[in-house]
């Protein structure tokens, strides 16, 4: 906050002071903000995650909180939900100062949270997940639970099978269950920490409807996102965190009167300070996305070929059926589709993490059908998983070790069976810098990084050390705007200058349109069509994604 201090910080504070009187009229709810934090600070070893944060969240309002990865958004929410204790500062609920020392307390105070990382228990049914912790008596009140679920489903316009195991639901549905769970015991405040990062456009649309409805019912909704247009569509109030501090906050009086582009400029300026200039015309904030022309003159040399590849469907999956794909040198082939149509199966079978029931996979002309994960790695095949916590990183190891995790035992990091700390440290420092990973140091335990920074660790590891073919599964989910663009540039750059072919699996159509040369569409485990990317192609792709017409 040296030269980038925005001038609107004054308006923000005065806004906070007079907020009580101004907003109370909006709903018949109680006077004053539903929740307010005053001068809240929280430090972790090596970082100040929240630095004297003051914000107020009002009834009947959607308050969007934005900020780059590691800005301290989740930390603030964790303080409100009783997961973290603030080092200093005060939390007020409906005008009274409270101590939220446990999630139980937060729930009692009417604060419901959908955390950034899923809290559904995969082996539990939907109903069991919802009833967890809410029972008062000895017996599980299944009938009562079913009735409550029915009520929620009706008012929110959702359809759920109460007895399906949570693991069998699509991500969008899981997200909806998480929301119902957060509302289950009559919350008056709903915290949503990046609920949309894994959702498809349809899922997001449904979510937005639900959120507007809740707002109209008088709830205070705190909505964290990296997507500007969501903030602009939904937010009554928009606040920006940067380096743990509030660097901008605009109430409805500003948000509703300024034009979209003015708001965009304000937000981007506050979020990234001086580095924001280049982001003015970013695709993410453009209205009406369309394809860009396929690059010409690509070499016609296939590097990855899938021939009638089939994968058995595990519980709750669709599997992959007789998929034919050819990826040429330097090409970016997008794989579009609604989540849960075989994306993960396809990625894993290419990476060697799953066995095929039929077909063949060739890398540079040679079959790798029988090669293991390690062998494929050393042949230059890389896989950026979409499960950054489960399989992408080892939370208890240092950031440095995580960055060389797939090079264990190899020169120069290991020599003669001995680990060479300096070599690892050197490489790790370079990667941390190159990928802008926000971490106190390379020795920091990886599990303590923020969600987006974990994703950067995975990307940094997979994209270094001479990749030939990279399979990306949702490479930019949870990344902030600037990093998303940087990662896209890197993917493009690798393809153009180093000839690294990319199979870009994503549920974000905009991303696929932005990067791909060709677009394949996956539906129920089959490729329903492959089209060249070109302006105006999105309608056709959209139809294919819903299982529309076959072929070109």
């Amino acid at each position: 906050m040296t030269n980038g201090t925005p001038t609107h910080i004054e308006t923000m504070t005065s806004d906070l002071l007079q907020a009580d009187g101004v907003r109370a009229g909006a709903t018949a709810g109680p006077i004053g903000p539903a929740v307010e934090v005053r001068e809240v600070s929280k430090a972790f070893p090596g970082v100040v995650a929240n630095d004297r944060v003051s914000l107020a969240f009002h009834h009947g309002e959607v308050h969007c909180v934005l900020g780059e990865n590691g800005a301290g958004k989740s930390t603030l929410m964790n303080i409100l939900s009783g997961m973290y204790k603030p080092d200093s500062g005060a939390v007020m609920v409906e005008g009274r100062e409270v101590t939220i020392d446990s999630p139980r307390r937060a729930i009692e105070l009417g604060i419901g949270t959908v955390y950034q990382h899923p809290t559904l228990i995969p082996v539990f049914t939907v109903l069991e997940n919802l009833m967890l912790g809410e029972g008062v008596g000895v017996r599980l009140d299944v009938e009562g639970g079913l009735r409550a679920l029915d009520r929620f489903a009706k008012t929110l316009g959702l359809e759920v099978d109460p007895h399906a195991p949570a693991s069998r639901l699509a991500l969008g549905q899981q997200q909806q269950i998480e929301i119902i769970k957060a509302l289950w015991s009559g919350s008056k405040v709903l915290i949503l920490d990046e609920p949309t990062s894994m959702l498809t456009p349809q899922g997001i649309e449904e979510l937005e409807k639900v959120i507007s409805q809740l707002r109209d019912e008088g709830l205070a909704v705190i909505f964290i996102t990296h997507k500007l247009h969501e903030a602009l569509d939904l937010g009554d109030t928009v606040s920006i965190l940067r380096g743990g501090r509030v660097v901008g906050s605009w109430g409805p009086d500003v948000v509703k009167t300024k034009s979209r582009s003015e708001m965009q400029a304000l937000i981007v300026g506050a979020m990234f300070g001086e580095g924001a200039g280049s982001l003015e015309d970013v695709a993410e904030v453009r209205d009406g996305v369309t394809g860009r022309a396929r690059r010409r003159g690509l070499p016609n040399e296939p590097v990855l070929e899938l021939v009638k590849v089939s994968v058995e469907a595990l519980r709750g999956e669709v599997g992959v059926h007789e998929v034919d794909l050819t990826l040429r040198r330097g090409e970016i082939l997008g794989v579009a589709g609604v989540d849960g149509n075989g994306q993960r199966e396809l990625a894993e079978v290419i990476a060697g993490q799953r066995s095929m029931v039929g077909g063949d996979i060739r890398l540079c002309g040679e079959s790798i059908a029988r090669a293991g994960v390690g062998r494929r790695q050393s042949l230059g095949l890389r896989y950026v998983t979409d499960d950054r916590i489960g399989e992408g990183t080892v939370g208890t190891l240092s950031v440095g070790l995580n960055l060389v995790l797939k090079r264990i035992g190899e020169e120069p990091f290991w020599r003669g069976g001995r680990i060479r700390e300096e070599a690892i440290d050197q490489a790790a420092c370079d990667l941390v810098e190159g990928f802008d990973i926000r971490t106190p140091g390379t020795e920091t335990r990886c599990g303590t990084l923020s969600g987006g920074n974990l994703q950067k660790v995975v990307l940094a590891r997979e994209l270094s050390f001479d990749p030939k073919v990279v399979v990306y599964n949702k490479p930019t989910y949870g990344l902030d705007l600037k990093t998303t663009l940087a990662v896209r540039d890197r993917i493009r750059d690798l393809a153009e200058s180093a000839g690294v072919a990319a199979l870009l699996i994503s549920t974000d159509l905009e991303e696929i349109l932005d990067l791909s040369d060709r677009i394949a569409v996956l539906f129920r485990g089959r490729i329903t069509g492959i089209v060249d990317n070109a302006p105006g192609v999105e309608r056709h792709v959209g139809e294919l994604m819903l299982g529309g017409d076959r072929g070109d």
């Binding site: 446990s102 729930i107 967890l132 912790g133 809410e134």
Partner: protein, 311 residues
């Protein structure tokens, strides 16, 4: 003639199976509770020994089997306090603490036994059997199944209770959540520490009861290290039972029968060397593991300490 032999063989097998299977049943029920809650209790056998010794001494002096059994459960519970303090609260490694408890309890009980009784092994009176009217009259299996000391029926009742608790109560749901994803339980507003503490303590009480059954009802004497690996077999049964009480019963009784098989064989005139007798349960474990191990389902957060806010 051969009919009579089979009848004798069968009833020896069943009653022997129950005799040897009950301690396993208690122990593996305890381990089931603990494992579902995410606490791996390797020290199960140590808690059995503590229960066995305490129960024996209390019965000897009070002449009350029931008091002895209760004392055994209490001793197991107190031993399990170590698990609660070191593993659940302080987050130390459950395997290390479990092994320490196992070794310490084995030494502790045998030293006490030596000090108190020297090389004499006083005997307790047998616990009187309670016949269940009508059922006890069923030929062959009747007398062996339905004329047992009352604690056996209590054991089976506990199975039913556990089954109910795990499936249809809030506590059961909390318990399973603590083992699968403690952060989710915490986020739902339930204290993971409390749930896991209760789980660990119940496991101790059950194991203590199993040990007390062994010394008071089964053998009538206490001999140092008399459990002979029963605790570990209990752990295996719990793992294969996948949290289902009924499977735990079946497993325990099958293992119990494999122990009593040799006695039953002797009844029909086939003698088996004592080494084979001692070996049988472990062979049975091996065979069962080879066949069924793939089906063992362990809770996702088993053995992992939980502390809020630590990522």
């Amino acid at each position: 003639m051969s009919d009579m032999l089979t009848a004798a063989f069968l009833s020896a097998l069943i009653s022997g199976g129950i005799l040897a299977g009950m301690p396993l049943l208690f122990a593996s029920l305890g381990e089931t509770i603990s494992e579902r809650g995410g606490v791996l209790n390797i020290g199960l056998e140590g808690m059995m020994l503590m229960g066995g010794y305490t129960g024996f001494v209390v019965t000897l002096y009070s002449q009350s089997h029931w008091l002895g059994l209760l004392a055994g459960a209490g001793a197991g519970l107190i031993t399990a306090l170590l698990m609660v303090v070191f593993c659940v609260r302080l987050g130390l490694d459950q395997i290390v603490v479990g092994i320490a408890i196992l070794i310490a309890a084995g030494g502790f009980t045998s030293v006490l036994q030596r000090a108190q009784f020297g090389t004499t092994y006083p005997r307790l009176d047998a616990m009187s059997a309670v016949e269940i009217p009508l059922f006890a009259k069923i030929p062959v299996i009747g007398p062996s199944l339905f004329a047992q000391p009352a604690i056996v029926y209590v054991g089976f009742a506990l199975v039913a209770v556990l089954h109910w608790v795990l499936r249809s109560t809030n506590m059961g749901l909390n318990l399973r959540a603590a083992g699968e994803k403690p952060e989710a339980l915490d986020a739902a507003g339930v204290s993971v520490t409390a749930v896991r503490s209760i789980a660990a303590l119940s496991a101790g009480a059950f194991a203590g009861l199993g040990g007390a059954y062994m010394s008071i009802v089964g053998a009538g004497i206490f001999v140092p290290f008399m459990t002979h690996g029963a605790g570990f077999i209990g752990i295996v049964i719990a793992m294969l039972g996948r949290g289902r009480a009924l499977w735990v019963v079946i497993g325990s009784l099958l293992f119990g029968m494999s122990v009593s098989l040799t006695t039953a064989l002797q009844l029909v005139g086939i003698t088996v060397p004592i080494d084979v007798v001692n070996m049988l349960p472990f062979v049975a474990v091996l065979v069962v593991l080879v066949i069924f191990a793939r089906q063992a389902y362990l809770p996702a957060a088993l053995g992992l300490p939980y502390k809020r806010g630590i990522r």
